[in-house]
């Protein structure tokens, strides 16, 4: 019995040309982007940068040409993503739309919503947020209470979403809501809707995170009226859509690369003749190298049309362990021993505080391991 069979994926040769193009673009576009900002990794936000990426065809690059996509391979997309993350580029504006909202619209509303919105996503002009979590529904997503009720040609939504990243900057939300009362079968009766963030009755309030930053929001729906065509796919298909999205959400290189800027700072501060430094950093290099191949392998499985939900959960679990080890190891090697105004100290400070989120977002460590345990035949 092979519990998790993740095979190495080979990058086709054209990927390396593309990689060179991305690097060359980034060295220009980010020439003045400071390392402290790069430490934010994929949480960094710049609508202008997203538009520049869109101009180059690096958003929605695997999507059909009829929506403005480039029909490139998933592995080519993987190369662009990993180069963006390695450079700490500010990608959060378009990240969600590129990763999951765009593919969702193309798959479930190919003739109505996708033609209208996807070309704007591709141009880096249209940003999305995800309305899944609620005040009483975190890991237990099936317990959501936000409801949509049919009213003529519209649906009327009432309820509340929380921890909604970038809701205050997004143009649209994909909201998971109940369209039928909860029953014995907990995963039945949920649907997803496209919601324009300017719709009357929708209120976005900031929730300041422990970094002191405004990324999260609370979004309340007070008789928010959306047209029937904004129902994504079939009524009641929400859970199925969400679990597919979560595989995409968990499979990418952003799930192991969040602490990359600190890794770079540590390498520059370290002493190659110090055995403690070489031991700690050598282990980290090995883990990076392997997680990169794991993450790439999962993308290869997606590209081959497989459903790597177990593999994605495992890579996210292992990746978060690496991301979270780095700030503590930076503390171990350099804490209190570098000037407080040094880039290392600033990058470290940011990541130490950001760190707890890495094993919470996109499915907590415990939920991921629960998925794995179930797949292994436990439970």
């Amino acid at each position: 019995m092979q519990v998790l069979n993740i095979r190495p994926a080979q990058l086709p040769p054209e990927c390396e040309d593309l990689r060179a193009q991305v690097r060359s673009f980034l060295s220009d576009a980010l020439a003045d982007y400071p390392r402290e900002e790069r430490a934010r990794n994929w949480s960094g936000y710049s609508a202008e940068f997203s538009r520049k990426l869109g101009e180059r065809g690096w958003i929605g690059m695997t999507w059909p040409k009829r929506y403005g996509g480039c029909e490139r391979s998933m592995l080519e997309r993987y190369v662009v993503l990993e180069e963006l993350l390695a450079a700490g580029a500010p990608v959060s504006a378009h990240w969600v739309a590129d990763r999951q909202s765009g593919p969702l619209l193309i798959r479930y509303s190919p003739d109505v919503l996708a033609p209208r919105l996807v070309p704007k996503i591709v141009r880096g002009e249209c940003f999305f947020c995800i309305g899944m979590s609620e005040p009483d529904s975190g890991s237990d997503l099936a317990s959501i209470r936000t409801r949509a009720v049919r009213d003529g040609d519209d649906w009327v939504i009432n309820g509340r979403k929380v921890w909604t990243s970038s809701a205050h900057k997004a143009h649209y939300m994909i909201a998971l809501v109940r369209t039928a009362a909860p029953s014995e079968k907990r995963y039945v009766g949920m649907s997803q809707f496209l919601v324009d963030m300017r719709t009357p009755g929708l209120i976005v309030r900031p929730i300041i995170n422990q970094l002191g930053e405004h990324e999260f929001n609370e979004v309340t729906f007070d008789d928010v009226r959306v047209p029937h065509e904004n129902l994504i796919g079939e009524e009641g298909d929400g859970w199925n859509q969400v679990t597919t999205e979560l595989t995409f959400e968990r499979a990418g290189p952003e799930r192991y690369m969040s602490s990359t800027q600190l890794m770079l700072e540590m390498l520059d501060a370290a002493d190659a003749s110090n055995p403690h430094h070489t031991l700690v950093l050598g282990r980290l290099v090995a883990q990076y190298a392997t997680l990169r191949q794991m993450s790439l392998g999962v993308s290869g499985m997606l590209a081959a049309g497989q459903n790597p939900s177990m593999a994605a959960a495992a890579v996210k679990d292992q990746g978060a362990l690496l991301e979270q080890a780095i700030p503590d190891l930076a503390h171990e090697l350099f804490g209190g021993r570098v000037p407080p105004d040094s880039t290392l100290a600033k990058v470290q400070q940011h990541l130490v505080v950001a760190n707890p989120s890495f094993s919470l977002r996109g499915g907590t460590r415990e939920i991921l391991r629960g998925i794995l345990a179930k797949g292994m035949g436990l439970r």
Binding site: R19, M294, G297, R369, L372
Partner: protein
């Protein structure tokens, strides 16, 4: 089915049959050489699997390595790994290949060997040499980078003191007093530095992935079978979480060893930088994962797993022995870390993406 798959499956069948004999490891630990099994292995030719020329099967390392994952999985007590490594080294240096079991002598603390100035004889002491007492020949790493090919069986000036490794397998001390050297394999015959340690680390990393996989399977099975408080202990969430992490560890270790195998060559100069990178990554990741998976396996199996009545120890003790063999994970990590620090931050991401630090 392709050739490599056939070879892997025939190895798995042979090892699975051999592992039916539950006293196999016990007898090997008591000092008995599994002669009949060794004959079967030699007749199948698995000792030639890492030989890349037409003296062997002509397989790429990545095609042959699955045999060693099976060897680890079935915990077969033979000198197959060392024999195959030694033959691959001899072949790469253009030597004709000896028959019978052999071994390799890694440069390590406790091993000091010196070649006579003529190159015709060797003197000194080698410690922790796997299966030396049963080996007919050995390939030894010398301080100057060359390798020495020596006779062991019935050879003058060779005396062997038996010892055992953590797994209870033969791990002997050899004293050489002007013992005859059949050939010196010069360092330039290999495209990589430290070919013996590198291939040894790669093969043992791969063996660890097989042993880890088996430990994980035993633990899952036991967790589902063992009932306490009226339900299988596998319902316990703490235990599920530990097993899930272990599954991730096994997958990680396997990926590291597969990639290292793809990038490995003893003789291809173009891979000069990829080989040490891949091997270091594999030995670090397999060592780390092996440590954790062995711990989880024992925690899940409880008291029975700590006894010789259960076979768990045949895998976990191997994991503890192999994580140290051919450079412990910490040794490889330090070397990788030193290279990475010298290369600096600007080289880091390129190295990860290219699977090498370009040192040229």
């Amino acid at each position: 089915m392709n050739d490599e798959k056939m070879i892997q499956e025939s190895a798995a069948r042979l090892f699975a049959d051999a592992a039916q004999d539950l006293t196999l490891n016990e007898r090997a630990e008591a000092g008995e050489f599994p002669a009949a099994l060794w004959t079967q292995i030699e007749e199948s030719g698995f000792q030639l699997s890492l030989v890349s020329s037409d003296q062997g099967f002509g397989l790429m390392p990545e095609q042959a390595l699955p045999i060693f994952a099976e060897l680890g999985r079935y915990r077969i007590p033979t000198p197959l790994a060392e024999t195959a490594i030694g033959l691959a080294l001899l072949d790469a240096a253009g030597q004709s290949l000896p028959v019978g079991p052999g071994t390799v002598i890694d440069a390590r603390v406790g091993t000091e060997l010196s070649l006579a100035s003529s190159g015709a004889t060797i003197s000194g002491r080698a410690q922790n040499v796997p299966w030396a007492r049963h080996a007919r020949w050995a390939v030894a790493q010398l301080d100057n980078g060359d390798l020495a090919y020596v006779e062991l069986a019935d050879a003058k000036g060779v005396s062997i003191t038996p010892g055992r490794d953590t797994a209870g397998m033969p791990s002997d001390t050899i004293s050489f007093e002007s013992a005859i050297v059949r050939a010196v394999l010069p360092a330039p015959a290999f495209a990589v530095r430290e070919p013996l340690r590198s291939l040894g680390a790669l093969v043992h990393s791969t063996m660890m992935t097989g042993a880890m996989q088996w430990v994980l399977e035993q633990a899952i099975q036991y967790a589902n079978d063992r009932v306490q408080f009226g339900r299988p202990i596998g319902k316990n969430q703490a235990l599920q979480q530990a097993l899930a992490q272990a599954a991730g560890d096994v997958a990680t270790a396997r990926m590291a060893s597969l990639i290292a195998g793809q990038d490995f060559s003893l003789t291809d100069a173009e891979r000069e930088c990829r080989v040490p990178f891949g091997v270091a990554v594999a030995k670090v990741c397999c060592g780390e994962a092996g440590t954790r998976v062995a711990a989880v396996g024992h925690q899940v199996l409880g008291a029975i797993g700590f006894t010789r009545e259960h076979a768990l120890h045949t895998a976990t003790r191997r994991l503890w022995a192999w994580r140290e063999a051919y450079g412990a994970d910490a040794w490889w990590a330090q070397r990788l870390g030193e290279t990475a620090i010298r290369a600096g931050s600007t080289a880091f991401w390129t190295a990860v993406a290219e699977r090498q630090f370009r040192t040229a």
